[in-house]
């Protein structure tokens, strides 16, 4: 059944049937592209006032400790030091830093500054001075005394550990999420459809697989940056590199006990996010300094602070059990996760649940499925939002287990999936049961081109099920592996975005959206949607985004929501705008609105007797129409009733050196169904970029700690992200697909790219060596040691 956004016109229905778009589904250059390449001032640090105070944070050298005292006397004597602020200078209000809608599914378990520090790098005190050198010097002069405790560093030992990381009485959940801090549990969840144990006991073939997925760092090239100042009205203005301006404002207001009307958050251009900026990070500290001193304040995290003291991906232990018939019919899936949320519980429950909610529906025909586990605290850096958001972890286990089942059955892994996977027109009970933190929303899949993705992917990689591994030179094996994935498009009935269109003299439109462009190009694609619907050119849409004072609300850029949710709001606004324009012009023509035709920037009556250009009308309505003069503006909002998943089929070819364990990706093929790609090149790049990040997680990236909880991998020297020489080729294609509930048929492309590489590469390594790896990343050492171990048992 088709659903439409706003009120579709006949024209729109025809467009959908023929999909003859003028601007959408084309390659349109980003509106800000040239400016960014030329390095014009655009990012927060480029825009900060020259005289802003430099803020420096003092951070804990201990993984778990209580601050006994902070002596800032020496530091304050230094000329140029403006203030030193500690936990005694903050209201004691527990908040979460997670950029999520209200009420947040994350526990309110942290204070801006606390008496306790819970990981190496946790904030202790805030120093502000006239320049960076003085701030650093002052910070080094502050004397802090700690009472050091034994930290909990192993997430498999955290549950019910005698050391309780969060004993504070004030912390709380916003609604039941399984929060039991006395047991070091940040969240817990469990669901079952059917009877998994009974089903598994009855299955002739079962498979078990456990894999450990590591923390991963976002490594957006721009470090977290914010500056703040008081405007003429004495309001707190913060310009910050954030993915969620409204959540930041709300949480900051709560933490600082300030009315939201006194706070403004602006997002300028930001240098990447990937979820790493979907939280409150640096804003409270600049805010505190500005409020205390009345002066502008700026904080730029150095790269080490970004590694040590922002957030990472949740480390997980993923345990899968599958049960099937001998003909390959999958009958039961049991998925148990243990997730490590680090020192604080941001995104604890939701990442955990997505591990199941965005993987299990892939195999929707099982008789029984069970999902559950815990999210535990440890004295490591907090884990938070990161592209993939649990789906990549869950999929790493699930898709490896599916391949193991294929091996056991002697089946082509592709055919096993085709036999059991989700198809268009079907549904999964998991959609209804599992939302993001709460119950989900039932959904029928109106668009799913996984079959086509698989067919094309097989073609591109040259998939021959009887030849999945072969030797190219002594000890050098080429092998292929595959995996499928799904994600979502926004969080139904929780994510909301709004758009405002206003006609300007000159016949162009202001488009204001809250939606947050991280560099993804959302400003461009939202303008494309408006231009397409309004029948104008890109140059006729001037877009401005992400300013809580000037643009309408949007939850922000996460959960792959921008195209589907914010884009739908833009489409609704464009349709309403057309309606309003037609009504206004009809009144001018003295006819009923139904008699006015609008096409190619011109209004006319059917007989052509009356005609008026859009540009002429824009002057009339602002200058000439007497008592009928008005600004023509509309604001529309959208929250999805569903979260239609994009899909992806991945096929990888690797070369593996048996003597060293080195695995190189020769070709990574990914064929995706994103619905209509609003911008063909931007959609493709999202997937290519996501894939390389996933390959990084599979092969190269690892967050390493010392025995005392110090992060060893705290620079780009010790945490290398993939360079352009690391992967041979990435081949991405998009299949023809159309999602009726999405704007011009679009779904999303932001996260789907990252999900498959660890599973696909694990499957390829298995095909190459017979060995199934159980810990990410698949470094040469892990691969070699696993091969040697297996050789011992032959």
């Amino acid at each position: 059944m088709r659903e439409y956004v706003g009120t579709p016109t006949q024209e729109t229905r025809e467009l959908e049937a023929t999909r003859k778009f003028n601007i959408v589904a084309h390659n349109v250059s980003k509106v800000d592209g040239e400016g960014l390449v030329l390095g014009r001032p655009a990012y927060t640090d480029d825009l900060a006032p020259r005289d802003a105070l430099h803020v420096k944070l003092i951070r804990s050298p201990h993984a778990f400790a209580r601050i006994i005292s902070i002596d800032a006397a020496e530091a304050l004597k230094l000329p140029g030091v403006a203030c030193v602020l500690t936990w005694k200078d903050c209201p004691r209000i527990p908040i979460t830093r997670a950029g999520q809608g209200n009420p947040e599914p994350s526990p309110h378990d942290r204070f801006i500054l606390d008496e306790y520090v819970r990981y190496v790098g946790d904030e202790v005190a805030v120093v502000a001075a006239e320049d960076e050198a003085t701030a650093e010097k002052a910070a080094s002069l502050v004397k802090v005394e700690y009472e050091v405790f034994e930290p909990v560093l192993d997430f498999e030992k955290a549950l019910d550990n005698p050391t309780v990381i969060h004993p504070e009485p004030e912390i709380h959940e916003m609604f039941p999420i399984g929060f039991e801090p006395k047991r070091n549990i940040a969240a817990a969840y469990h669901m079952e459809i059917g009877d998994v144990e009974k089903e598994l006991a009855d299955c002739p073939v079962t498979v078990e697989h456990t894999v450990y997925t590591q923390s991963q760092q976002h490594v957006a090239l721009e470090p977290h940056t914010a500056f703040s100042y008081l405007d003429l009205q004495g309001r707190l203005n913060i310009v910050t590199s954030t993915q969620n301006p409204w959540h930041t404002r709300r949480l900051l207001g709560l933490a600082l006990q300030m009315p939201l009307s006194r706070i403004r958050i602006v997002k300028p251009r930001i240098g990447g996010g990937f979820g790493g900026k979907q939280h409150v990070h640096v804003e409270p500290y600049v805010a505190m300094v500005t409020l205390r001193t009345g002066k502008p304040a700026k904080l730029v995290l150095n790269r080490r602070e970004v590694f040590e003291s922002t957030f990472t991906r949740h480390e997980m232990r993923v345990s899968i059990r599958l049960g099937a018939d001998r003909d390959g019919t999958l009958r039961a899936i049991d998925m148990k996760l243990l997730s490590n949320t680090g020192a604080y519980g941001e995104h604890a429950l939701t990442v955990f649940m997505v591990g199941g909610s965005k993987t299990l529906p892939l195999y929707n025909k099982v008789k029984a499925v069970r999902f559950g586990g815990h999210v535990v605290y440890t004295n490591k850096v907090s884990a938070g939002a990161y592209r993939g958001y649990g789906a990549i972890q869950g999929l790493t286990g699930l898709e490896a287990a599916i391949d193991e089942l294929a091996h056991k059955l002697g089946m082509d892994p592709v055919e096993l999936r085709r036999k059991n996977m989700l198809h268009e027109g079907e549904t999964s009970e998991v959609f209804r049961i599992m939302g993001e933190g709460t119950e989900g929303v039932a959904m029928t899949i109106d668009s799913c081109k996984l079959e086509e993705c698989i067919r094309r992917g097989k073609e591109l990689i040259g998939w021959e099920p009887d030849r999945l591994a072969w030797e190219v030179a002594p000890g050098r094996i080429r092998a292929k592996g595959m995996a499928i994935a799904m994600q979502g498009s926004g969080i139904p009935l929780i994510d909301m975005g709004s758009a405002r269109l206003e006609l300007q003299d000159g016949g162009f439109f202001k488009l204001h959206v809250g939606a947050t462009d991280l560099g993804t190009g959302s400003d461009t694609i939202l303008a494309q949607i408006a231009a397409e619907e309004l029948g104008v050119d890109m140059k006729d849409i001037i877009i401005h985004s992400s300013d809580t004072d000037h643009t309408p609300f949007d939850v922000g850029a996460y959960a792959s929501s921008t195209t589907y949710v914010s884009g739908s709001a833009v489409l609704k606004a464009a349709r309403s705008m057309k309606q309003k324009l037609i009504e206004a012009v009809a009144r001018k023509f003295g006819v009923a609105p139904e008699q006015v035709i609008y096409e190619r920037k011109r209004f006319r009556t059917a007989d052509g007797a009356k005609s008026l250009s859009l540009e002429e009308f824009s002057f009339d309505t602002l200058y000439h129409d007497g008592e009928h003069m008005q600004t023509i503006a509309v604001t529309e909002s959208f929250s999805g009733e569903k979260s239609p998943p994009p899909y992806l089929a991945a096929f990888v070819e690797i070369e593996l050196d048996r003597e060293t364990g080195k695995v190189d990706v020769i070709n990574y093929v990914a064929v995706a169904d994103v619905g209509t790609p609003i911008n063909t090149s931007l959609a493709k790049i999202q997937i290519e970029g996501g894939l390389l990040q996933g390959i990084g997680m599979a092969l190269y990236e690892d967050v390493r700690y010392s025995e005392k909880g110090h992060m060893l991998s705290h620079s780009m020297m010790t945490y290398p992200i993939p360079s352009r020489e690391d992967v041979g080729r990435i081949t991405v294609e998009l299949v023809d697909s159309y999602e009726p509930s999405g704007p011009f048929g679009a779904k999303s492309a932001g996260e789907i790219g990252i999900d498959t590489p660890p599973a696909a590469i694990s499957n390829a390594i298995r095909n190459a060596t017979g060995v199934r790896l159980t810990k990410l990343p698949f470094t040469p050492e892990r691969v070699l040691m696993a091969i040697k171990e297996a050789e011992k048992h032959i």
Binding site: E659, T660, Y700, P720, E725, D726, P780, E781, L784
Partner: protein, 262 residues
């Protein structure tokens, strides 16, 4: 980082005097300056002293201490004598922007464990020339250093050798987990292993097995490779364990020797 006093001497001699008498720190490529130095009382800039050259001299090639990695890897002279050896041993190092800055002298003086260049130079039988004219075997210098302040003027390598460089890294531009270089100089076989994670070390027992002939049997090569693994110490660090280094050492040595022999 902080520098209290910065000086640009006009001659090599002046630079040397400042280093010895005033305990100044010579500035080579400064690629590692921020990482390894926080506060220098006196910094002596070696740029502009005419130490950038790659030139022939008798039956050797002299490389000035301020010659950059990029100059080494693009040198037609070095390519004509050693093939793509320098391209291979330097090509994994971060990027051209770093290689336009990092210098031979800075790398040799630093005796860094991870250095790919030092391992290769050791295999070539390089010599270090310290101002004012003291010549030391590079392998010895890497292992033991020298006491007191010193200033490197140039590195001397043979005019010709057949050499191979092998390595293992987790990702293409990361630091090496292990590097190996082997060379036939015309009279002897040389094998050096570095990034153990400790600095480059020769493999005398393995080298002794190889004799003084250019041709080697497969069996000899395998034995030498295993001997090299047995005679060297390896350690663990953030990138790899000692066991892994030991496990791949024979393979890398074998590949290096086979490439040279071919």
């Amino acid at each position: 980082m902080e520098i209290q006093e910065y000086v640009r001497p006009k001659t090599l001699d002046e630079a040397y005097q400042l280093i010895v008498q005033k305990r100044g720190t010579p500035l080579g490529g400064t690629a590692w300056l921020r990482t390894y130095a926080k506060n220098l009382p006196l910094a002596i800039d070696l740029a502009g002293l005419g130490l950038e050259y790659i030139r022939e001299a008798h039956d050797s090639i002299e490389i000035g201490a301020m010659t950059t990695y990029r100059e080494l890897e693009t040198s037609m002279l070095l390519e004509s004598r050693f093939g793509p050896l320098f391209k291979k041993c330097l090509g994994h190092i971060v990027g051209v922007q770093l290689r336009n800055i990092a210098t031979v002298g800075g790398t040799v003086a630093g005796r860094y464990g991870f250095s790919d260049l030092n391992t290769t130079l050791c295999a070539l039988g390089a010599k270090v020339v310290l101002v004012p004219g003291k010549v030391i075997d590079l392998a010895e210098f890497i292992m033991g250093g020298v006491s007191g302040p010193f200033l490197i003027e140039k590195i001397i390598i043979p005019a010709y050798a057949k050499a191979s460089y092998q390595q293992m890294r987790i990702s293409a531009t990361d630091f090496p987990i292990l590097n190996v270089a082997a060379a036939w100089t015309g009279t002897e076989w040389r094998i050096a292993v570095g990034a153990r994670p400790a600095a480059s070390h020769m493999c005398p027992k393995a080298m002794a097995l190889l004799g003084h002939s250019a041709s080697l049997s497969d069996e000899t090569i395998s034995r030498a490779a295993q001997t090299a693994a047995d005679e060297l110490q390896c350690g663990s660090d953030i990138r790899a364990s000692a066991e892994y280094r030991k496990a791949i050492l024979p393979a890398l040595v074998r590949r290096a020797l086979m490439e040279v022999r071919a």
